[in-house]
């Protein structure tokens, strides 16, 4: 009972409940939702695997976005940065029909990630150093980014025939699971490592909660803000590799389209407030998976891609309502009203103050 209570008050509780509700819904209404089968060439497949694969690039974006939002900023350029990164990697590998790469794939991947970081550095410079509002500053790259990607690909969709390139978002022969799941897991581990072994988490929260007090405590606020945007760019760069590998092409117009919104949504679903401060990496990851589950569910139920946003919006409204403080207060008040014989909830606060 005690453990249950502790769990229900933990920050991961609500995001997990939202995901659980979706999964239960799926189990009941979608045939074979839980089935996982082995293909002839030794790969696992099934809806669950599919959800994980598809959510991997969103998970990576949400990681970067979480830090940005925790400093009470926002990065709406990540979708465009995904397109740039995709363009870079495909351009360097090249679209030769005989499947021979122009440059080594590792080099191309590194270059793409580096370009992602550069985009983040640009955003960080605008927000941290020049103190431009985050939305406006990242809007620049959001609108200009796809143009940059177009320039790189010279307006063409570069299709890559080099076989190993498809392994990033697919399965390396001999492996049971798609590679992008491992990449996402590695990114999550990297962030967990950073959280445990450095003070970046403390500084980011401190800056998000009270930048002024942070400055007075000697924290280099400008540097912290700069770093979170650079990291978000890094995440978008990695995400770009996954997205382009999935379709084996660089599509400057559609790669990562609207993904910034999904990433922000994932962070919000994960329980991190958009006003900054406390953040929950685990929550963001679950939030990203929830969004993908929702999408997959809708497709499974035969909702067309055009109508999907509507259903998504309704689900999001419900999830946000559940998480909103005001709604919880109203719910508590309603409960207290029903149990009007018991004491009101003010006792707890008084203890805290003492």
């Amino acid at each position: 009972m005690e453990a249950l209570k502790k769990f229900s008050s933990s920050s991961l509780f609500l995001p997990l409940v939202a995901l659980a509700v979706l999964i239960i819904f799926n189990v009941i209404f979608v045939d074979g939702f839980l089935t996982i089968q082995m293909t002839e060439d030794g790969r696992l497949y099934g809806r669950l695997i599919d959800i994980l694969t598809r959510s991997s690039s969103l998970i990576i974006l949400a990681l970067g976005m979480t830090f940005v939002i925790a400093t009470s900023g926002i990065d709406i350029s990540v979708g465009a940065v995904v397109a740039i990164s995709a363009a870079v990697v495909c351009m360097l590998i090249g679209g030769r029909g005989d499947g021979v790469p122009e440059h080594s794939m590792v080099l191309a991947m590194l270059a793409a990630v580096l370009v992602g970081i550069l985009c983040g550095v640009w955003n960080g410079f605008l927000v941290a150093k020049l103190k431009i509002q985050a939305v406006v500053a990242t809007l620049i790259l959001m609108t200009a980014g796809r143009g940059v990607a177009q320039l790189m690909t010279e307006g063409q969709i570069i299709t890559v025939y080099y076989k190993p390139f498809s392994y990033i978002a697919g399965t390396i022969p001999g492996n049971v699971l798609p590679t992008n799941i491992f990449i996402a897991a590695a990114m999550v581990l990297l962030v967990v490592f950073l959280m445990k072994k450095t003070s970046i988490g403390l500084f980011v929260q401190s800056v998000g909660i009270n930048p002024n007090a942070s400055r007075f405590s000697g924290i280099n606020v400008t540097m912290v803000i700069f770093l979170v945007y650079a990291f978000s760019g890094f995440c978008a760069g990695v995400s770009g590799l996954l997205e382009s590998s999935l379709i084996r092409a660089a599509d400057a117009n559609n790669a990562g389209l609207n993904m910034e919104m999904d990433a922000i949504l994932a962070v919000a679903l994960g329980g991190t407030l958009l006003s900054g401060g406390k953040f929950y990496i685990g929550g963001s990851v679950i939030g990203a998976i929830t969004i993908q589950t929702l999408t997959t569910t809708m497709y499974a139920l035969g909702v067309s891609a055009d109508q999907l946003p509507v259903v998504k919006a309704i689900a999001v409204v419900i999830i946000c309502l559940i998480q909103s403080k005001r709604c919880q207060e109203m719910f508590d008040a309603w409960k207290a009203h029903r149990h009007s014989s018991t004491d009101s909830g003010t006792g707890e606060k008084a203890v805290d103050k003492a």
């Binding site: 003070s199 970046i200 403390l202 009270n210 000697g218």
Partner: protein
Amino acid sequence: MEKVLLEMRQIDKIFPGVRALSKVDFTLRAGEIHSLMGENGAGKSTLVKVLTGVYPRDGGTVLLEGKEIAPRTPKEAQECGISTVYQEVNLCPNLSVAENIFIGREPKKHGFIDWKTMNKRAGELLQRLNVNIDVTRTLDNYSVAMQQMIAIARAVDVSAKILILDEPTSSLDEQETQRLFKIIRQLQQQGMGIIFISHFLEQIYELCDRVTVLRNGELVGAYDVAKLPKYELIAKMVGKELSAVEKMDALEEKSQPSEEVLLAAKHISCTGQLADVDMKIHKGEVIGFAGLLGSGRTELAELLFGINQITKGEIEVRGTTLNIKNPMTAMKQKIAFCPEDRKEQGIVGDLSVRENIILAMQAKDGMFRHIPYKEQVRIADDCIKLLNIKVSSREQLIRNLSGGNQQKVIIARWLATQPELLILDEPTRGIDVGTKAEIQKMAIALARQKGMAVIFISSEMDEMVRTCTKLIVLRDRRKVAEIANEDVSSDNVMRAIAGGEA
């Protein structure tokens, strides 16, 4: 004597946990310039806000020309004839002067704004105040002083009975102030009652007829400015009877500064904040920055900690000249700073007590030299015990602590960095008496036992006199005196603040 314009009787205002005003009386006559004086938190602005309907009052009556009024919003107060010009000009810089003056009540013709009339009337209005400017240009073309005049013009046109000026001169230079005073006097002659709030004593003496002094939400008294020496006015503001001054200052042990100079400031200035201050701090010394609010004491501390940078002069730490360009530079020199505004500059509300304590230490160590959790717990627990901080656990959020305990956590944050110079800016404001005494004693103990140098800044004279071995007295952003050892007494400090006049 002129007729009574405004009478506030037995005004009470209670905020949760604080009695901001307690049975305060205030009388304003027509054609009078009346100053409200008192240290920070004395209740000046609360009284004004009760009068202008920003806060509802919890008791008492307000009579305007004999009729009871109870404005609930600033707009209602304005309709009664009470206008306020705030410290920060709250006009719209992107609108024209005329628009600013008539915003919300534009003269109309056939349902459209009548620009011609508006501009003409705005021009006439400013003319009356001897201001000749182009009213069709946008406000941001004009200086702050001019904007101040425009704000006054607007206030005067809206109402013609009472004008409240809250710190109108804080951003004006001498010439602009004189010009403003001329206008205020002109309005006075028209029979308007003017409430003038300022921290500058000289200006009060130059301009005002009467002064009402508040302290801790209570009325001290109302006096004719001409009959009240500056020295006595300060005594009333800080709350000391003249005869009791000497006795109160008797103190036990104070710090004993060593010969070694830790920090020396040589003619440091910062444009608009501080002019030409010279001082030395020795190891093991508790030194005070005394002066009224706005005298430059916080600004001086902020310069030493690198929050702002000096524009002239130099700072020497342990004999080496140093450019303190940011807080980190100061921290590396083992300087620590507990800022004045605990809520805005001190606590990080949503973090735990433990995290708040190790914050500065971690910042000093750098992001990649993470203090292990176990070590954090040890430091936090040590501090909680050492400073006797009352918390339910070290993981409690700091915002749920009382003011005094929050202050202790901030002090703990800095003690954890093992400083050699600790700057305490108003460490005792808004906290209970017991904790106050604890913090004063701690300051002395740190100096005596650890040889730390402590800078103590406070508005409370007793506290300063009791705690400090040396006092730097500031007035109007300049150093006016340095009082040391036996000479440290409320009496001497007040004399120095008043400018040597008794």
